[in-house]
Amino acid sequence: MQADRMDFSPLLGGTLTGEEMARPETTYLKDVWRTLRGRKTAVFSLVVLVLLVFMVLFGPMMNEYNYYSNDYAAANQGPSRVHWFGTDTLGRDLWTRVWVGGRVSLLIAILATIIPYAIGMLVGGISGYFGGKVDMFIMRLIDVLMGIPSLIYDILLIMVLGSGSISTLVVAFTITGWLGSARTTRGLVLQLKEREFVMASKTLGASPMRLILRHLLPNTLGIIVVGMTMTIPSVIFAEAFLSFIGLGITPPNPSWGQLIKEASEVFKQYPYRFIIPCIFVGLTMLCFNLLGDGLRDALDPRLRT
């Protein structure tokens, strides 16, 4: 094969300058979004989660039933055109109960993740920024408290607080759940506080609280968000676990854990009743885990391969 002169043409003279950026600048968030979009599993998870949230919000409005009315004439029906997921022993519509239950489970999961993380970030930020005796004290306290198995303590706390409501579960999970995020945040703040932008702000007279809240904590958010995404499934698990041993949301209010527990007692007769909420619990936990994996890769440039 021979090269022909006509295959080549001269570059456009003068338009290329080495100083110019070849591509438009990207911000950190845009960069994260681009990496995340490249990961099929993460995008898939995000889509599924958005759909689930949509269904949890609007699913109960799609038919005329509510989640608490008993209708003994319609008890124990299989999925049909009238009751899309069938009915339970008391004749309650399971389509409605599954989505209302999802609302409860997801609400608990999100609140019991964000609140402990906020507290943990504040404590960790203070501990890491001030260092010295404060840090020493807080870290030893966390070392000691970390050793206490949280689920066992949740059981005791819920018994004390009186079981049954969303707020009880969230308070219990908050009391036991802030330790990990405090430790993570402290480690990140220890690295960040040596950086120039912190020194610059300090020189300009920023107060310690302003430094922590405006400069240090926002810069830990990337890793914290990954942690939160991974925590949500464990809270969903904890809720289901507590429901299973009889300490979850009180009937007639549904939650996914509650529905699974109720259905596991009549599994042999009505397997679909068990399988339907299980699919949604599994799907939610799966998607948050996969999204967390994707976010970790997207947010942390060092981990990229």
């Binding site: 030893r140 070392d143 000691v144 408290l145 970390m146 050793g147 206490i148 198995p149 689920l151 066992i152 303590y153 059981i155 005791l156 706390l157 018994m159 004390v160 009186g162 499934p233 698990f237 289901a240 676990f241 299973f244 041993i245 009889g246 300490l247 854990g257 699974i260 527990k261 596991s264 599994f267 042999k268 397997p271 068990f274 399988i275 299980c278 619990v281 599994g282 799907l283 936990m285 799966l286 885990n289 996969l290």
Partner: protein, 304 residues
Amino acid sequence: MVRYAAKRIVIALLTVFTLATVTFFLSKLLPGDPFMNEKIPVSVQEKQRAYYGLDKPVVQQYFIYMGNLLKGDLGTSIKFVGRSVVDIIREFFPVSARLGLIALFFAEIIGILFGILCAQYRNRWPDYVLMVFAILGIALPSMVVGPLIRYVFGVQLRWLPVGGWGTWQQVIMPAFVLGLGTIAGNTRSMRACMLAVITQDYIKTARAKGMTPFRVVWKHELKNSLVPMLANLGPMIAGVLMGSFVVEQIFVIPGLGKHFVNAVSTLDYPLIMGLTIFYGSFLVVMNLLVDILYGFVDPRIRVK
């Protein structure tokens, strides 16, 4: 090493002390009174309270309680009349412990094997298949998997007994459900650990020396990836312990986890307190052992 171990032990002791103190004061806040009953005369109620030492001031009760704990007395159950918590633990914990040990042992080995396979065949089909399995294992909690496989293998196919305790067939399903999370978690972390080791220079050196691939994996990659895996052992033990509450319920196994759940539903407060302290201290001790072992195996830890 001694300094490192001593520090760990002090922290563990403080944890157990906090655990016991918090448990005691929380129990004082518990709603309801187990002796409140209109059918029983007030004088008898008083006597019952006095029998359990509940008529004394709270601070005094606290010191008595802590003193009893030091003597190894965890209190007396209310529903199992006259039986001490220690007695109940002694009778039922061996069942849970045996099931947990079997589950943990197989789950660790299988998880590590799966992780090795994933890392060696990374980004090829064995990796994908096992990672899907691992992710499902993490996403599906035991209260979902338990009834499901019990129905499939116990009720429909009749391959295994649906519940009970005593024969080796009865162990298989509960041990699998109990270990599933550990298998999944270990597969993932073993894969990650090994991938980190595989890129190291000494692996290249070993290959360049002409070592067989099997020996490279066995002698260098495996040994060095197992060290960080040790750190996972603590949470895995905790997971298996918590899982036993659910699994023993599903498969009708007469273990301590089942009794704990029963105590929660019958409001047997002294039993709940005693078992909380027992489980808590047990996990603290396990974590302590893992920490010390970790420091022993990896010198970098104890210097830090």
